[in-house]
Symmetry: C2
Subunit: 350 residues, 2 copies
C-alpha cells in the first residue's frame, strides 16, 4: 500500500460512523417510533403493509440487523446451542477422529436449518461440568456433547442440573441424559458375522471396551460368535484406544507373540486403516491373509487401499437426530435415546 492509499484508507475509516446503526436510527429516518420499527422488522400484523416495507427497505439499505443480545435479553430466550467436544488433557490430547470432526459440520447444518447458531468448544473431559455454564450464563439453550467416552457419571451429573443435554454415544442403564448413537450391538454383530461367514475363525477385536460404545460393539462381536457357534479366543480381544498408533502397536504385539489370527474387527476406521498399514509392514496381505472390517465409514474408507469394508454410520442423520432431540427436550417434550440404524458396506478389505 503506498502512502496515498494509506491516507485514503484512513479517511474512509474516519468517515464511517463510529457507532453502529441501531433501531433508533432507523426510527428517526423513517419518522416513526422504535416500537414501530421493532414491530415492522418482526413481521407484526400491527403495522401496516406500507410502513413495514418502507422500514424493511430502509433497514436493508443501512445494512441494519437487530442486536441479538438485546433481543434475547428482552425476549428471555435465545437461539444458540453449545456443541462440546470433550478432550482428554492428559492422555489422548485432542480428538482428531474424522468421524467426530465430520459430525460437527452435520450438526452445524441441522442447526442452521432450524435457525439456531452453534457455539463450539472443546472442553477438558474432566471438567464436563463447565458445559453447564453455557446454559447458566444464558449463552445457549442447550448442550450437545460429541462423544461419551468414559464420562457417564459426569454426564449424569450435568443432566441433574436440568439443562437440555444430548450426547452422541451409547445408551446405558441408569442414564439421566438423552443419547443418540448408532446401534452398536447390531453394528458389531454385522461386522463380525460378515467375517465369520466368510470362513474366518480367528477374528481379533480392536477397541477399548472401557468406552460404552465399544463395549456394545464387543457385545455384538460376542453375539455373532455365539450365533455361528464359533468360540471367542481371549487372546484376540485387544484393548486399543482410539488412536492410530495404538492399532499399529496392537498388530505388532499379535505378530511378536505369534498369536494366530485371520481377521480384525476394528472399532473405528482410523484403527482399521492403520492396522492395515501395520499388517502390510510385516508382510501380511489384506484381505488374503487377514480380513479387516472397520467402523464409521468415513470418507477415507473408500479411498484407501484396499478399500475398507466397514459399518456405515450416517453423519448427516446423526447430526439431525442430535439437534432434533435437543430441541425437543428444550420444548419440554420427551426425547428417548435414539439408536440409528447401521449397515455393512462391503468393500475390498473383507
Amino acid at each position: 500500500m503506498n502512502p496515498s492509499e494509506a491516507s485514503n484508507a484512513k479517511l474512509l475509516a474516519t468517515k464511517t460512523p463510529p457507532t453502529k446503526v441501531q433501531m433508533d436510527d432507523i426510527a428517526r429516518l423513517a419518522g416513526v417510533s422504535v416500537s414501530t420499527v421493532s414491530r415492522a422488522l418482526s413481521q407484526s400484523p400491527l403495522v401496516s403493509e406500507k410502513t413495514r416495507t418502507r422500514i424493511a427497505e430502509l433497514a436493508k439499505s443501512l445494512k441494519y440487523s437487530v442486536n441479538v443480545g438485546a433481543q434475547n435479553l428482552r425476549r428471555g430466550q435465545n437461539r444458540t446451542v453449545a456443541v462440546v467436544i470433550p478432550y482428554d488433557a492428559k492422555s489422548r490430547q485432542h480428538v482428531s477422529d474424522p468421524f467426530f470432526i465430520g459430525m460437527l459440520g452435520s450438526i452445524a447444518d441441522a442447526l442452521t436449518l432450524q435457525g439456531y447458531d452453534m457455539l463450539l468448544s472443546r472442553i477438558d473431559a474432566d471438567r464436563l461440568d463447565l458445559a453447564a455454564q453455557y446454559c447458566d450464563s444464558g449463552r445457549a439453550v442447550g448442550v450437545i456433547v460429541i462423544g461419551q467416552w468414559g464420562h457417564h457419571d459426569q454426564l449424569n451429573e450435568l443432566a441433574l442440573r436440568h439443562l437440555p443435554l444430548v450426547v452422541w454415544g451409547a445408551e446405558l442403564p441408569k442414564q439421566l441424559y438423552c443419547t443418540v448413537g448408532s446401534d452398536n450391538v447390531e453394528g458389531g454383530s454385522l461386522a463380525t458375522s460378515h467375517l465369520l461367514k466368510a470362513g474366518r475363525k480367528r477374528v481379533a477385536f480392536f477397541g477399548d471396551t472401557q468406552m460404552p460404545e465399544v463395549a456394545q460393539r464387543f457385545e455384538g462381536y460376542e453375539r455373532a460368535h455365539r450365533a455361528l457357534g464359533v468360540p471367542i479366543l481371549p487372546d484376540l480381544v485387544i484393548q486399543v484406544p482410539f488412536i492410530a498408533e495404538a492399532a499399529r502397536d496392537a498388530v505388532k504385539s499379535l505378530v511378536v507373540k505369534q498369536t494366530r489370527f485371520d481377521a480384525i474387527f476394528a472399532c473405528s476406521d482410523l484403527l482399521a486403516i492403520t492396522a492395515i498399514g501395520a499388517l502390510r509392514d510385516v508382510g501380511l496381505s489384506v484381505p488374503t491373509d487377514i480380513a479387516v472390517v472397520g467402523y464409521d465409514d468415513v470418507d477415507m474408507a473408500s479411498y484407501c487401499h484396499p478399500a475398507l469394508t466397514t459399518i456405515h454410520q450416517s453423519i448427516e442423520v446423526a447430526g439431525r437426530a442430535l439437534v432434533e432431540a435437543l430441541l425437543a427436550i428444550q420444548r419440554g417434550d420427551e426425547a428417548l435415546p435414539n439408536h440409528l440404524p447401521t449397515r455393512l458396506v462391503v468393500r475390498a478389505s473383507a
Copy 2:
C-alpha cells in the same frame, strides 16, 4: 424407566425453580445490593475482600454465572468470534477436506485460550456477505473465514464494511482483507524440486488454478522447473478441483490419453491419496512408476500406503495466527498478511 421413576423425575423437575438464578437472588441472599454483587464478581477493588469471597462462594454454591447477554449489552462489547466455512451450494456441496476441518479445532483452542467463544457456521459461498450479520447484530466481534476459494471480490466487499476479518488463504494484489496462509509458492516449489531432483522429468500438476492458493502453488511448480532447467509440459497441468473423485478422473484421463508422466504433484493430500488409489487400479506402482507428492500433511498422510510425501502446513500454528490477526485488527492494530513457513515431509510415495 418404570412408573415410579418417571413420577420421581417429574417431581424433581417441578421442584427446581422455573426461573434462573440471577444477580438479584445472590444480592438478596447476601444481604447486599446487586451493584456490590456485580463488583464482587468482576473483581472490582471497590468491594472488600471479605464480602467478595462471601459473594463468590454464594455464587458458586448456587451455580450462578452472569448473564453474558446482559453483560455484553451493558458493556457494549463481547467476546465471540464467528468462524465461517463457505460451501458451494451448487457444485462442490460441503467442504470435507480434513485439512480445513482440522483447522476448526485449532482455532477453537486458540480462541478459548484468549477467553473468546467461537460461533461456527457454514455459509453459502455466494452469500459471503451474510457473514457481516454476525458483526452487525452484535453476536460477534469479528469473522474468520476458512478458505478463500474463488471469492476474492466478495471478501473485499466484506472488508469494506469495516468488520474485523481474517481469511485463511493466499495474499492477492489489491486485497482489502487480511490473510493468513502457508507460503504456497515456496511449498509448490519444494514439492516440485523434490520430484525433479529425484530425476523425474514429467511431473503432472493436479489442482484448480482458479483458486488463489493453487495458482501460487503452480507458480512454485513453474519456478522449480525453471530453476532446474526442466521444461513444463502443458498436457501435464490438469485442472482438478478439491474433490476426491476429480483426482481419480484425472488419473484415468492421463492413462486413457496415454500421456507419459512419471510423477504427480497434487495440491492436497486428499487428491494425492485418491490419485495413488487410482494409479494402483490401473496397475501403476507408487513410487516406482509414478512418484506422488501431496500438500497439507493431514494425519492420514502418514497412515496410508505408501505413506505420503507431502508439504506440511501446521494446523496449530495456523489457528493461532488467524486468531492473533483477528484480535489485532479488532484492537485497531494493523495486521499484515501472514505467510506461514512450510516444509517438505519425505515419506515413501516420492
